[in-house]
Symmetry: C2
Subunit: 235 residues, 2 copies
Amino acid sequence: MEKNVTALEPSAEAVPGDKDSASKQIPPAAVARMTLYLRALNSLLAEGVERVSSDALAEASGVSSSTLRKDLSYVGSYGTRGVGYEVQYLSRHIAAALGLTHDWKVAIVGAGNLGKALARYGGFESRGFDVVAILDADPMVIGNEVGWLRVSDAANLELVLQRTGTNMVVLALPAAVAQDVCDRVINAGIRSILSFAPVLLQVPPHVNLRKVDMATELQILAYHAQRAQTPGQAL
Amino acid sequence: MEKNVTALEPSAEAVPGDKDSASKQIPPAAVARMTLYLRALNSLLAEGVERVSSDALAEASGVSSSTLRKDLSYVGSYGTRGVGYEVQYLSRHIAAALGLTHDWKVAIVGAGNLGKALARYGGFESRGFDVVAILDADPMVIGNEVGWLRVSDAANLELVLQRTGTNMVVLALPAAVAQDVCDRVINAGIRSILSFAPVLLQVPPHVNLRKVDMATELQILAYHAQRAQTPGQAL
DNA sequence: CCGTGTGAAGAGGTTCACAGCG
DNA sequence: CGCTGTGAACCTCTTCACACGG
């Protein structure tokens, strides 16, 4: 799902001799899986496990061990042959490769049911993301408390983003206004956006947009369910 | 994004001579995009547009026109050469290919912030999904009104799923209990599950599981943002 | 003549199998 | 001897270019 609207500029890597550069390109599919490894590693860390083999980590992440080893090879050789990986060491290096060495400041635009749910969702802080603001345009909602925050007026969007030092924005608003707000967010200098609005958002190439749409996910499930239900209809 | 944990059994299509079958396999990536086409077509339909070219529809869906035409070729030839596609006709056929000819009954397990947000989200009904139940285990929450529904006791999970005729389940609950509930849902006969829990769920091969995780999405954004910020550090 | 539909080429991702190191 | 790291084969998806039909 998803995982699709990744803006890659092929022309950006025109320099041929950056083979030795520490930051090679990591395939998008591998980046997505890295988050799974990180999650599994942090679970192991919480359990006090110190070392793990590629087989074990792969199973805990739900991928094949060859995929895991290939993915890890993109960021470097952090294992010990014949032994495995040191959990904390590997966790640190994957986090670094993903850019999670410092916290990211996230603002949520839209304080409807979904926006509030996201703002109160505890899973962000523990993974390097600080929700620093939540905004809405509805006067009935502005000023309400949501978790530790108070809903700001979306009219002051640019000001709030600047004051809070926001560098990522989550759009949790109706389709009709999503593109307008998205444009303002981009004009305010934000280049990473996660949208829950069920519309196609137009963004310039330097902006990174990811989309999550529950209706889309259900439709994909419906396709597979329908296939399973009518296997021999054509025969 | 996502869009990844699709259970495909390669052994299931051992029959070689089903070339003429009306329901050929559609590539997973194409299925995901079909939902975009459907959304764009329904927008056009609402605007009263009757015909559309592959170029126009592709732009409205955010894909290339060659991708669009290739995708449509998986479900059949519904266009007119030199003219384009009839909007309603194509919309119907894509919906049929995705199994959206009848409504699907969805139950939401977990009536926390996210579960409530999903239950009240209007985007489901309009796209062929009926939310028929919402459940929780917390006595403080059971019986509360959420949209048109009342929160059922998760202790009666199996009974509620059966009575409502549910055929899809959305898991909106904490990681700690997700696997337990997931197992019960599967035992109750559900084979399509959409999980928002940030854990790896173990499911048998005949069950279709899709996952959505906001933290994962933000981490992927972080990776790209970090790359953009430190372009020449290695040079 | 125009836009669809499609084989063929190309790119990207996954799996395999084993070399290499501890 | 065991497990990691990786080139190579394999497979899927995307893009290209043009034949085909209205």
